[in-house]
């Protein structure tokens, strides 16, 4: 929320008031993506046992939120997350980066929740925080449904700008460079708004030792779906899971300094050269 002129009406809150830019970042704790995923043979839900980590995709939103709060000169970053258990190790990572607190909706009844149910839960939790801005990733690494930002915005009746490459705040307007197929669009919306952040656009900070220590005592409020008045459900069902046809490996050779000739030969066979 840059320091504007006091004659600018939209900035009245800054002048004479302590303006606080409060940002919610939706984050997901996921199984380590380096370990091959598995479906539970009973439920067909993705197995989420063991240690969960902060989804890498969410680190960009957390970093962006910290920078926006910094630029505004006040306010805080609140994490909002959902999990079928009260696992919070991934949240601690984001708290160590500098988020002030977290709200974790933790309920075994939410296992296997579809994207719309997840959005209802997150929107319910966000509504309690009353933020100026909500940031999300474009999709989670494990489930990647990819509709959650827009669903949260729809439920909260907020405008939304997806696939942000850059975010700026001007008064009560959020200005975003939004990725498009052809390039990017400059898009503006009144706040509060939901903005989804594409990966790689900021460099997430590494938590400092001090940050890690401080994160241990930062508040993580736990809620259930019932606390938010939400009946967990899903409007979909998996009917079959089969192994896809495997692709066979071809010729693998060790480069002896002339490996490139093999590629040339292959491209010739394919009539590219």
């Amino acid at each position: 929320m840059g320091r504007g002129s006091c004659s600018d009406l939209v900035l009245w809150r800054i002048c004479g008031h302590d303006y606080a830019m409060n940002v919610v970042v939706c984050v997901k704790q996921i199984p380590d993506p380096a370990i091959p995923g598995q479906l539970d043979p009973q439920t067909n839900f993705l197995k989420r046992e063991g240690k969960l980590i902060l989804d890498d995709s969410d680190a960009y939103g957390v970093e962006m939120a910290l920078q926006l709060v910094d630029a505004a000169g006040g306010g805080e970053v609140t994490l909002v997350s959902m999990a079928p258990n009260n696992e919070a190790s991934g949240l601690r990572t984001a708290l160590a980066m500098g988020a002030a607190k977290a709200v974790l909706v933790s309920d075994p009844a939410l296992a296997g929740a579809d994207a719309l149910t997840t959005a209802k839960v997150l929107a319910g939790a966000i509504d309690r925080v009353k933020p100026d801005l909500v940031l999300t990733a474009t999709e989670a690494t494990d489930g990647y449904t990819g509709t959650l930002p827009e669903q949260i915005a729809g439920l909260l009746n907020f405008p939304s700008i997806t696939f942000a490459k850059k975010i700026e705040i001007s008064g009560t307007t959020v200005k975003v460079d939004r990725q498009t197929e052809a390039g990017y669009d400059e898009v503006e919306a009144p706040m509060p708004a939901v903005v989804s952040v594409t990966a790689g656009v900021v460099e997430p900070r590494y938590p400092s030792f001090k940050g890690i220590m401080a994160a241990k005592s930062k508040p993580v409020d736990e809620l259930t779906a019932a606390d938010l008045g939400i009946t967990p459900g899903t409007g979909q069902q998996i009917v079959s899971v089969i192994a896809a046809e495997a692709r066979q490996a071809g010729e693998i050779i060790e480069d002896d300094g002339e490996g490139y000739l093999k590629i040339i030969e292959f491209l010739e066979q394919q009539k590219v050269l």
Binding site: G146, T162, D185, E188, G200, V239, A243, A244, A249, G250
Partner: protein
């Protein structure tokens, strides 16, 4: 049993509809019944003629009023449905705008969504969709437990676009009850030479094995020499070396070129799901154990910093 009516969200790509739109209407047509489309661009009459040739009977036009498309298009669709015009399914491409409209609409209709699919079928009146997960190793078929309209999105290249129809679609202006508040104030087209990533016949992608952002220029050079498009693994997009629009994978673009060249990419499942449909795959990686070699037609176990410059020089010298 077939479906009575399917809607498709038709997207602009310059002065015509996107290839993804044509893929979807082709598939929708094969499921029987009426196919109608919603369109928020400025070339309605040309699009009505083009989509008519693909069997679309009605084209609902939406005036987005300069805002992002999620709210106005979802509002137009929901308005039609409230008025009793109800499709069995609504199909979207897994694209920036397609995802926006799909998300907004799911809230307006309070319907679940099934996304990232590669196929759709109708079985006893029930809509079923297939999604490839775990890097394409597993195929999951899902259905909806709630009422129609069923909201589904598909990966690009899931279907082959084929004309089939000889009328012009009837153009109907759909009313928009909720205007979008996210306004587009300027558009920027980034000039890029050569074909676009998800439509190119040849793709050259680079990964972490390049070692350094500067080295990505080798990928661009090779792509240009071969009239292909440059792509990237998630690792180097996350590292900020190239924009998100270059990313091939589960979160990113799905490509199915005739030839895919993976340089310095180990082959995480995240990446494989986005490119394993390629007709042929060439992989260059210094780690002989890299998973990418398990799906490569030609694998060179070697250093990309040696192999790529040699390859580029050899092609230039021809």
């Amino acid at each position: 049993m077939s479906l009575d009516k399917i809607w498709v969200f038709a997207e602009d790509a310059g002065d015509k509809v996107s290839t993804g739109t044509l893929e979807l209407v082709t598939k929708a047509r094969s499921l029987g019944g009426v196919v109608e489309a919603f369109y928020a661009g400025t070339n309605a009459s040309a699009v009505a003629a083009e989509l008519g040739n693909f069997g679309v009977s009605k084209l609902y036009t939406v005036d987005a009023g300069g805002s992002l498309l999620g709210v106005p298009v979802a509002s137009a669709m929901a308005g039609q449905i409230e008025g009793g015009n109800k499709p069995d399914a609504i199909m979207f491409a897994t694209s920036y705008d397609g995802r926006d409209v799909l998300g907004r609409l799911s809230v307006k209709l309070d319907r679940s969504v099934l996304t990232n699919n590669i196929d759709i079928s109708v079985d006893g009146g029930q809509v079923k969709v297939d999604e490839a997960i775990f890097g394409g190793a597993t195929l999951v078929t899902s259905t909806f437990t709630g009422d129609a309209p069923h909201l589904v999105s598909f990966r690009p290249k899931s279907f082959t676009a084929e004309a089939g129809g000889s009328t012009t679609a009837e153009v109907i202006a759909a009313s928009v009850s909720e205007a979008g508040q996210a306004k587009i104030v300027a558009r920027h087209v980034e000039e890029r030479e050569g074909p676009v990533l998800d439509e190119a016949a040849l793709v050259v992608s680079g990964g972490r094995g390049l070692g350094d952002a500067d080295k990505y220029s080798m990928i661009e050079d090779l792509a240009k020499l071969l009239n292909g498009a440059p792509g990237a693994s998630r690792a180097i997009v996350d590292a900020g070396w190239v924009p998100y629009s270059y990313q091939v994978g589960q979160t990113g673009k799905v490509v199915k070129p005739d030839i895919y060249i993976a340089a310095g990419i180990s082959g995480a499942t995240q990446h494989m799901v986005g490119m394993k449909g390629s007709k042929t795959i060439i992989a260059i990686n210094k780690d002989a154990e890299a998973p990418i070699f398990s799906i490569a037609d030609l694998g060179i176990v070697g250093d990309v910093h040696k192999v790529l410059p040699q390859l580029i020089d050899a092609i230039k010298g021809r």
